[in-house]
């Protein structure tokens, strides 16, 4: 099975390359493109820690197959299915072409994104939208940010659950995020002919599922330290390390900071719970970041105890080190 996945990965890469080349990204513009892709992520990391990996504790398997596969699928779906229209809006030669690409993108999001009406009224693709929306993303930064978080936290949870149970938990968390969003997000109130008065805005992205993975991580390994990219942390280190090095010659500089996972919980809560309550209190939602889905997906972590390996569960219950 693992060899099959590896072969698929190797065969898919040429397809990805050709796709990228076909939309006309030249070398220089490609570099600029990559920089612009990473820049928003780096800018957000100035204020909020961006987790890169965790450190220490026991490991079961050295290769996170399912985490890697999920990342691969997400990337493939974006590049091969959504990428044409997404890149099309940026590389179109005329305004009409750009509009056409944008229109196509919107149609796709509204057809396959998670929509409350699909569930309540049994239309469109119905409950399948819970799964299709999980693998769609609104842009490269959206995709990259989610995949970074998935890589940082998903591996340990896959360790703790085993590959298949982790996949089940991931899908479960994504579903819970969608359900929570559907129930708690007020519809968009629109007064326009031909448009339903209470319009459900489609939701796409793996954020809800990843919030669940993150919540599970914090529940299972609250004392674990996570290596993060964090501007404020680097600033603090600069204040301490630089004088130390100047006066004593000791102290080493690192670009990353190691933060206990419970601190990340605090940041996550501040970043999501408060906006969620604001959204719920409003009569109409316009869109943007679906913080309600993040919050409810996070709560899905409580179910992690149904998915973890039995030996790890017993150790957790008995208070022993995981």
């Amino acid at each position: 099975m693992r060899w099959a996945i590896l072969i698929i990965l190797l065969l898919a890469f040429p397809a990805v390359f050709c796709r990228l080349l076909s939309v006309g990204a030249g070398a220089a513009s490609g570099l600029l493109f990559l920089f612009l892709l990473i820049l928003p992520l780096l800018l957000s990391a100035l204020m909020l820690p961006l987790p890169l990996k965790d450190s220490g504790t026991v490991r079961y398997e050295s290769i996170p197959w399912v985490t890697g596969t999920l990342i691969f699928i997400n990337v493939m779906v974006f590049i091969l299915w959504q990428g044409g229209d997404f890149f099309g809006t940026m590389t179109a030669e005329t305004l009409q072409d750009a509009k056409q690409a944008y229109f196509s993108e919107v149609q796709r999001n509204w057809s396959y994104g998670f929509r409350t009406s699909f569930l309540r009224e049994g239309i469109g693709i119905g409950a399948f939208s819970a799964f299709t929306s999980m693998f769609m993303h609104g842009g490269l930064t959206h995709l990259l940010g989610n995949m970074v978080y998935l890589w940082a936290f998903g591996r340990r949870i896959e360790d703790a659950c085993g590959p298949w149970r982790f996949l089940l938990f991931y899908l479960f968390a994504g579903m819970i995020a969608g359900i929570g969003s559907a129930i708690l997000t007020p519809p968009l109130i629109v007064d326009f002919p031909g448009v339903p008065p209470e319009l459900d805005i489609p939701s796409i992205g793996a954020s809800g599922a990843i919030a669940g993975v993150m919540g599970a991580y914090l529940l299972m390994f609250p004392g674990a330290r996570v290596t993060c990219l964090w501007g404020i942390g680097m600033g603090i280190r600069l204040i301490i390390v630089f004088p130390l090095k100047l006066f004593t010659g000791e102290g080493t500089w690192r670009w990353t900071v190691s933060i206990p996972s419970w601190i990340l919980l605090v940041f996550f809560a501040i970043n999501n719970i408060i906006p969620s309550f604001e959204t719920m209190q409003e009569e109409s939602a316009f869109g943007g970041v679906n913080t309600i889905a993040h919050m409810t997906g996070f709560l899905a972590a409580l179910a992690i105890f149904l998915f973890v390996r039995k030996d790890l569960l017993m150790r957790y219950i008995s208070g022993r080190r995981l």
């Binding site: 220490g56 026991v58 490991r59 079961y60 398997e61 050295s62 509009k99 919107v106 149609q107 509204w110 057809s111 929509r115 409350t116 009406s117 699909f118 569930l119 309540r120 009224e121 049994g122 239309i123 469109g124 693709i125 119905g126 409950a127 399948f128 819970a130 085993g162 149970r165 089940l168 938990f169 899908l171 479960f172 579903m175 819970i176 969608g178 359900i179 559907a182 129930i183 629109v190 326009f192 031909g194 448009v195 339903p196 319009l199 805005i201 316009f286 869109g287 179910a303 105890f305 149904l306 998915f307 390996r309 039995k310 030996d311 790890l312 569960l313 017993m314 150790r315 022993r320 995981l322």
Partner: protein, 455 residues
């Protein structure tokens, strides 16, 4: 003439005729024939004006007989002369650990460098013509200037050993150490000598000094540890490694080695800590090995966990909640409308249980016993692939396990039930695939009408 005669004549020359030169010559010849004559060494020391050289002779006597009171007095006398009456370095035998710790020997002057070069060149020429003893004398002269000159020492020791002057060689090595040498090779040679003398305390002291040297590499330190491990001395091996790690805190190899040592001693917690440290420090081979070793410290399944039916049902409940959420969505976010989907949820729990039993809980009791399971045979030694998979340290089991055929049947039935469950819980969505219904999609005008901006 024999050694004794030469010795008597030498002593007579010194005592009766006050001829130190003659006495030195005769005693040197005597000692070549019989290097274990401690009294000859003491008499020889009296013929030498240089207190450092004299001290060496006295220390040779003490090596032969550490309890010789005259030798001890002379040693103290010469040490006092050398250190100017101060405490100086502390020596045990001929190993000066104090000198090692704060090794700040005086810098060799340019003139001394020149002299050393000249002596080395002379020594080489003498060796080329086969005059080994004279060459040795040149090297010894180099060592008089710089006792820790590595090349001179190596050559002198090697050739002295060839000529079977082991004690002389040992003396030179000890002098180099006393002078604060930081060359690992010198310490290794000293260790060999100490082993030859069957002096285990000295061996330990030298090893401890060796592993703290800045130039001591990980390979060398590992060999020292292996020496202890070969004879089952875990305690000194641990001490050595601790000293080495203190001196080389960034060394993954040493951290990994310490982890292995603790693992061999059955100290799992300590082993895990060291493997963790080694794994954290980066992607070297030892770091990856440490990471692999950490896999061996996974929680160990006990028979209580293996045989637990409730834990298996817990996993099946995981299937249940997933299918429940699927059914809830498919029913329009209304539990009351789920209808037949509840049957799907129940089937998913049963199907999930069968799959769990087939895969991760084949030893549930009393199920495995009822279905004719057999207790698996005990394995004597873990196979390499089991170590690789982190299964080397599984607790042995006394519980019967379902046969492969039974597990296969359970798996197939469980899979079929899950498929049926999926069909039940996702009935509406599956129906939409064959019978799609229209739904609202933003039109072109709606998207690009500035009065209505839809996301």
């Amino acid at each position: 003439m024999d050694a004794k005669t030469l010795y008597n004549q030498g002593v007579a020359a010194i005592r009766d005729r006050k001829d130190k030169e003659e006495g030195r010559r005769l005693l040197t010849q005597s000692l070549r024939l019989d290097p274990n004559n401690e009294r000859a060494w003491l008499w020889l020391s009296r013929t030498i004006t240089d207190p450092q050289k004299a001290l060496r002779c006295v220390e040779r006597a003490l090596n032969i007989n550490p309890t010789n009171p005259a030798a001890k007095k002379l040693q103290q006398h010469y040490r006092t002369q050398l250190t100017g009456g101060g405490a100086g370095t502390v020596t045990t035998g001929a190993v000066s650990l104090g000198a090692l710790a704060t090794s700040k020997r005086p810098k060799t002057t340019r003139a001394e460098h020149k002299k050393i070069d000249l002596l080395m060149s002379r020594a080489q020429k003498l060796m080329d013509v086969g005059r080994t003893e004279d060459a040795i004398a040149q090297w010894v002269s180099v060592l008089d200037i710089r006792p820790d000159h590595e090349i001179a020492l190596r050559e002198a020791v090697r050739n002295l050993m060839k000529l079977k002057y082991a004690d002389d060689a040992k003396e030179l090595v000890n002098r180099a150490i006393a002078a604060g040498s930081t060359a690992p090779s010198i310490y290794l040679t000293a260790i060999d000598f100490a082993k030859r003398d069957q002096n285990p305390n000295r061996v330990d002291e030298l090893r401890m000094a060796l592993v703290q040297l800045p130039k001591a590499d990980d390979e060398l330190i590992s060999r020292v540890v292996d020496d202890y491990m070969r004879v089952g001395d875990h305690g000194p091996a641990t001490d050595i490694l601790e000293l080495a790690i203190h001196a080389h805190p960034e060394s993954q190899k040493l951290l990994f080695r310490m982890g292995k040592l603790h693992e061999e001693m059955g100290r799992d917690e300590e082993a895990m800590q060291y493997f963790n440290k080694a794994a954290k420090r980066g992607g070297s081979k030892e770091g990856r090995e440490a990471d692999k070793m950490l896999q061996n410290y996974r929680p160990v399944l006990t028979d209580r966990e293996r045989g637990s039916t409730s834990l298996a049902w817990r996993e099946a409940a995981g299937f249940g909640v997933v299918f429940l959420m699927m059914g809830f969505q498919d029913a329009g976010l209304n539990f009351l409308s789920m209808g037949a989907r509840w049957a799907g949820v129940i089937l998913s729990i049963i199907g999930g249980y069968l799959i769990v039993t087939a895969t991760s809980s084949p030893q549930q009791q009393p199920l495995a016993s009822w279905l004719g399971g057999q207790v698996p045979p005990k394995k004597k030694q873990a196979l390499p692939e089991e170590v690789q998979r982190g299964q080397a340290f599984q607790e042995p089991t006394e519980l019967p396990i379902l046969s492969v055929y039974t597990r296969a049947v359970f798996g197939v039935i469980g899979g079929v039930l899950l498929i049926i469950a999926f069909w039940l819980v996702f009935s509406t969505a599956l129906g939409l695939l064959s019978n799609p219904k229209d739904f609202f999609l933003p039109s072109w005008d709606l998207i690009f009408d500035e009065s209505v901006l839809l996301p």
